[in-house]
Each structure stands twice: as structure tokens, then as C-alpha cells.
């Protein structure tokens, strides 16, 4: 090309930007709100059950009636302590509930009872694995607070352009745990992995069912960039409305790219809040005012300081049991099964315990694991049930595995039997009998069948004898047909071959 002078400078500039982009470091911190799995709310005895009619789980306290007063839910405190311990935090023996003052219709008292200067726990960490490396992400603090209610906007799809709004206070007062990470995350992918790991731990501890889609766990992200080597943090923006783990990564990727572009072109990043739009996979600034809020935090005079003594901490520790990462390490050394299989097994504590109980009975970790990773979950998923809801027990499973091992049941039949066990809880022996699923492994019975089949299928015999190995399959098939699938497949194959000479 000649004449135009744009190509070269453009290429040059692009290369420059490319270099600039490569020299940026991304800094991400995450704030997670987790709804605690308690029966009642944080400061009153209303039920926390989801899905009831609007304003059916309310009382004077959570609706902020004049004269009402809060009383702390002990279980919520214990769940938060459990979580903080799992996140390697230091528990503060004395923490303080503070009022966060702001006006909004889903907040009946127009203040939220939260924790500010003295939270329940601080200075912990969470380990994540990214690209084969283990990384420690600092946890700044864990604290307790109450949730707000829900708003329904009328006259439009969302709050923008709505004509009026309706307030449902069922959710108001639900116990929330806020977990704040240090800005130790460096990529959107790390952020997603952190959220997934945190969700796993919360579910494992039975503290929260941690579903971003349902709102039982919520994620706000803070992201900034700085030139590599610079110590100071850049101006951060806040991202909200990420309702899946994928969305967390996507939103951060978009914002990271935007910030890099702005800075590369000599622009400045301004502090703002952006919402992720799932439909367009993009981030947009929120339409509210700039500037920080003055929440006028002060210790709530209706509550005493929260005293958590060593006795309670020990009690909670004792009830927590092994954490996922500890269990993983132990399973590797104790059972010798592959890591990815272990991950499936320990996804839920129930399944992990089930596995171990089964192995205690039959000493067959590999076989037991296979069942609990493969066929059993396949059945459960197809029928939309969880293992703990079924009638299957480690005793029953161990028994079944035993029968397969001795050849009393074939692998295929076993699947059917296990499905029945899940439904009925009846013993393997009983079911095998009633279903006629026992495998015939008696040589003398099978040799007769083998001879019969060979005699009845001369073409296949011919084919096999002339070198077509696959022809034996037809003979085996016939034998299986005759025995209604009950012939021990390996044995019948051996006997057929023997008969054929």
C-alpha cells in the first residue's frame, strides 16, 4: 500500500496499546452476602421460609413497629462463627451491632442492624486453585446483619420508569452473613473460582445453600487496575447484579476491559456502581447519584455487645467437623482414588460420609466410589432427588457391591436392583430374588446352556471358527436371551469358547 499514511501509525499505536494493556494489573475484591439457614429471622421469631404469600412472615419487630425491639438469634451467631473458623479468621470475643442509617421502603426502621467497627471475625483466608497453583485469598472480615425486604415495581419491568412500587417484608430481618475478601484476586477467573469455592464451603458447612441464581448468596465486586509494579490501588468501580458464577467472571472481564481501554486512551476511572445485564452480557452504570453515603453508623443501643467466648468457639469447632480441603487431602492418602472422583464424592458432606460408611463395611473404596460417582447420581439426577432423600443406606450399598463381587449379580442387573433399593430400601438379597435378577454363575448350569446355544447356531459357530471373533457375541447374546440376562457374561463366554474348542 502506498499513498495513505494511516496504516503504519495505526499499527504502531495498536502495538503500543497492546503493550500498555499487558502492563496492567487487575485488582479485585469481593463482598459476599449469604443468607443463613436458620428457622427464624435474625432479630425476631418470624419464619425464614421462602416462597410464602407476601407479608405472611412478619411481626412488630421486623416491620419496625413503634416500640419494637430486636433480640439476637443464637443459631445465626453460631453459623457465622462456624463460617469464620472455616475461613481461618480470628473471632472477636466482643463485637458490636451497629445501625446503618438510610431511607428505603424495604427497610422499615430506615436503618439496618449490621456490624461496622467491630465485626464478629477478621483476618482470615480462603485457598483457591487456579491453573494448578494454590493461592491464598485474604478474608478481611465476616459479620452479621439483617436482610431488607423485596420491592415489586409496577408500570415497567424494573425500577426505571415505574409508576409505583409494592413492598413485601417477608425477607426483612433474615439473617445475613457478609464476607469481605481482601483485594487479592487478580483475574476475573480467580474471582469466579473464589465464589465457587466459597459457595462450596458454605453449602458444606450447612450454613447457606449458596445459590446466586436464587439470591441466597449475593456477590458485589470491586475492581480497579494499576500499572504493573505500582503499589497504590487505582480507583475502583463496583459491580452488582451478577446472578451466576459465569456472570461474575463475565462482568469483571467486561469492566476490566473497559477500564484498560479508558486508561490506555489517557482517560480516568471514576468511582461508580455498574450493573451487569445478563441479556446483553454487558455492564451499565446505575442511575443513582454520585458520592458516598453517610450511614451515620453508631452502636445499636437496643443491643448489648455480642460476646462470643472460647467455650462457644470450641463447641462450634467440635460440631463443624472436617472441611472440604481437609477431607480431600485425607481421601487421597486414605483411599487412593483419583482427585476428580474425590471432588464429586465430597461435593456434599452426606455423600462423603455415605461413601466412608460403605467402605468401612466392605473395604472396597474404588468400587464404592464408582457407584457413588456414576450410576447412583445418574439415577438421582434423572429423578430429581438427593441421596439423603432416598432409602439407600451404606449397609444396602455395601451388600449390593458384595453380591456383584461374588458374581451373584451381574453389573447390569445390579443397576436395576440399586434403583429399587433407592426407592424401597429393601435389602439386596430380597430384591435380587424378587426381581429374579440373580446371576447364574453355576458352571454346571451354564455349560448346558452353552452347549445348547452352540448347537442351535451353526452359522455363528462357522463364522467364529473361520476367524470372525465378533461372531461369539451373537452366541453370548443368545445365551443371555435364554437366561433372561442372568448368565454371568464372562463365565458364559468362557464356557462357550470351551464348547467351541
Amino acid at each position: 500500500m502506498f499513498g495513505s499514511c494511516t496504516p503504519e501509525p495505526t499499527i504502531y499505536r495498536r502495538a503500543m496499546i497492546g503493550n500498555e494493556i499487558m502492563n496492567f494489573e487487575t485488582v479485585i475484591g469481593l463482598e459476599t452476602h449469604a443468607q443463613l439457614q436458620t428457622e427464624s429471622k435474625m432479630f425476631c421469631s418470624c419464619s425464614t421460609k421462602f416462597g410464602n404469600d407476601p407479608n405472611s412472615n412478619i411481626c412488630p419487630v421486623c416491620t419496625g413497629q413503634p416500640g419494637s425491639l430486636p433480640v439476637i438469634n443464637e443459631k445465626a451467631v453460631r453459623l457465622a462463627v462456624k463460617t469464620a473458623l472455616a475461613l481461618n479468621c480470628k473471632i472477636n470475643n466482643e463485637s458490636v451491632f451497629a445501625r446503618k442509617n438510610y431511607f428505603y421502603p424495604d427497610l422499615p426502621k430506615d436503618y439496618q442492624i449490621s456490624q461496622f467497627e467491630m465485626p464478629l471475625a477478621e483476618h482470615g483466608y480462603l485457598e483457591i486453585e487456579v491453573g494448578g497453583q494454590i493461592k491464598k485469598i485474604g478474608i478481611t472480615r465476616v459479620h452479621l446483619e439483617e436482610d431488607a425486604g423485596k420491592l415489586v415495581h409496577k408500570g415497567s419491568a424494573g425500577i426505571k420508569g415505574s409508576d409505583y412500587s409494592l413492598v413485601d417484608l417477608n425477607r426483612t430481618g433474615t439473617p445475613l452473613m457478609e464476607i469481605v475478601s481482601e483485594p487479592d484476586l487478580r483475574t476475573p477467573e480467580e474471582a469466579r473460582v473464589y465464589m465457587e469455592e466459597l459457595a462450596h464451603i458454605l453449602r458444606y458447612l450447612e450454613v447457606c445453600d449458596a445459590k446466586l441464581e436464587e439470591g441466597s448468596m449475593r456477590c458485589d465486586a470491586n475492581i480497579s487496575i494499576r500499572r504493573a509494579g505500582v503499589k497504590e490501588l487505582g480507583v475502583k468501580t463496583e459491580l452488582k447484579n451478577m446472578n451466576s458464577f459465569k456472570a461474575v467472571q463475565k462482568a469483571l472481564e467486561k469492566e476490566e476491559a473497559r477500564q484498560k481501554e479508558v486508561v490506555s486512551e489517557g482517560g480516568k476511572i471514576y468511582q461508580q456502581t455498574l450493573l451487569f445485564d445478563e441479556a446483553t452480557s454487558s455492564v451499565h452504570p446505575m442511575r443513582s447519584k454520585e458520592g458516598s453515603h453517610d450511614y451515620r453508623y453508631f452502636p445499636d443501643p437496643d443491643l448489648l455487645p455480642l460476646y462470643v467466648d472460647e467455650k462457644m468457639i470450641e463447641e462450634v469447632k467440635g460440631l463443624t467437623g472436617e472441611l472440604p480441603i481437609e477431607k480431600f487431602k485425607r481421601f487421597v492418602s486414605q483411599y487412593g482414588i483419583p482427585g476428580q472422583d474425590i471432588n464429586v464424592l465430597i461435593e456434599s458432606r452426606y455423600t462423603a460420609d455415605f461413601f466412608e460408611e460403605t467402605v468401612k463395611l466392605n473395604s472396597e473404596p474404588k468400587l464404592s466410589a464408582n457407584w457413588l460417582i456414576g450410576d447412583i447420581p445418574a439415577y438421582l439426577n434423572a429423578n430429581n432427588i438427593e441421596l439423603k432423600e432416598t432409602k439407600l443406606t451404606p449397609v444396602l450399598l455395601a451388600e449390593m457391591i458384595g453380591l456383584v463381587k461374588t458374581g451373584a449379580v451381574s453389573g447390569n442387573s445390579a443397576k436395576k436392583v440399586v434403583a429399587e433399593m433407592i426407592k424401597t430400601g429393601r435389602s439386596a438379597k430380597e430384591l435380587v430374588e424378587s426381581m429374579g435378577a440373580s446371576q447364574i454363575s453355576d458352571e454346571s448350569a451354564l455349560i448346558e446352556i452353552a452347549e445348547r446355544v452352540v448347537a442351535a447356531n451353526p452359522q455363528s459357530v462357522e463364522a467364529f471358527k473361520s476367524g470372525k471373533e465378533a461372531a461369539i457375541k451373537h452366541l453370548i447374546g443368545q445365551a443371555m436371551k435364554e437366561t433372561k440376562g442372568r448368565a454371568n457374561p464372562r463365565l458364559i463366554e468362557t464356557l462357550i469358547k470351551k464348547t467351541l474348542g
Binding site: 407476601p54 412478619i58 439476637i72 415489586v152 447519584k289
Partner: protein, 104 residues
């Protein structure tokens, strides 16, 4: 510490109090008198003194926090609570349109 009319306006906004111009002027003056009086606390020596957030006796040598069992109880008077709503629709509290500038 002197409080200006602008400060009164800003503070009133924080507290969602709509004030007339006259009120702002009057309160600025009265608040200045009051704050002028309360400034005397600056002369109190509070070095190494911790704040008293509550004078409640802990009722014992060990410090304990009053807490409740995690049991769900249905409040009998829910209808009365909804019944007090200035405006309601579908059993929910109805509020005028939210423009997005309420949270400060």
C-alpha cells in the same frame, strides 16, 4: 462549631426532613445556640476513657449477650400490621414511584 443554613439543609436532607426557608434560618440559629452550649464537653478530660454505649448491668461477672432460640413463631396480628398501611395493594405496602435518588 458553627452551623450554617447550608449545613442545616444538608443535615435535614439526610434525615428526610423537608424544611421551609424560614425553618432553616430559625433552626440554624437555635442549633448554633445549642451546639455552642454542648461544646463544653471538649473541656472534659477523656483520655483513656472508654465510651458508655449502655449502662446495662450484665447481671453477673461473665459478660453474656441475651439471645433467643432459633424457633419460628407466627405472629397472630399480621392483619393489623397490613391494616395500618397508608396505602396497600395485593397485601403489600404501596409507595409512590422511586426515582432512584432516595438512597442519598
Amino acid at each position: 462549631m458553627s452551623i450554617s443554613k447550608d449545613t442545616v439543609e444538608y443535615t435535614a436532607k439526610l434525615a428526610r426532613l423537608g424544611l421551609s426557608e424560614d425553618e432553616k434560618t430559625l433552626y440554624a440559629k437555635q442549633l448554633n445556640d445549642i451546639l455552642g452550649y454542648v461544646d463544653v464537653i471538649n473541656s472534659a478530660d477523656t483520655k483513656n476513657i472508654s465510651p458508655t454505649a449502655s449502662t446495662r448491668l450484665s447481671g453477673g461477672k461473665e459478660k453474656t449477650t441475651p439471645m433467643r432460640q432459633d424457633k419460628a413463631v407466627q405472629f397472630e396480628g399480621i392483619k393489623k400490621i397490613i391494616g395500618n398501611a397508608p396505602e396497600q395493594e395485593d397485601n403489600m405496602f404501596r409507595v409512590p414511584k422511586i426515582m432512584g435518588d432516595e438512597e442519598q
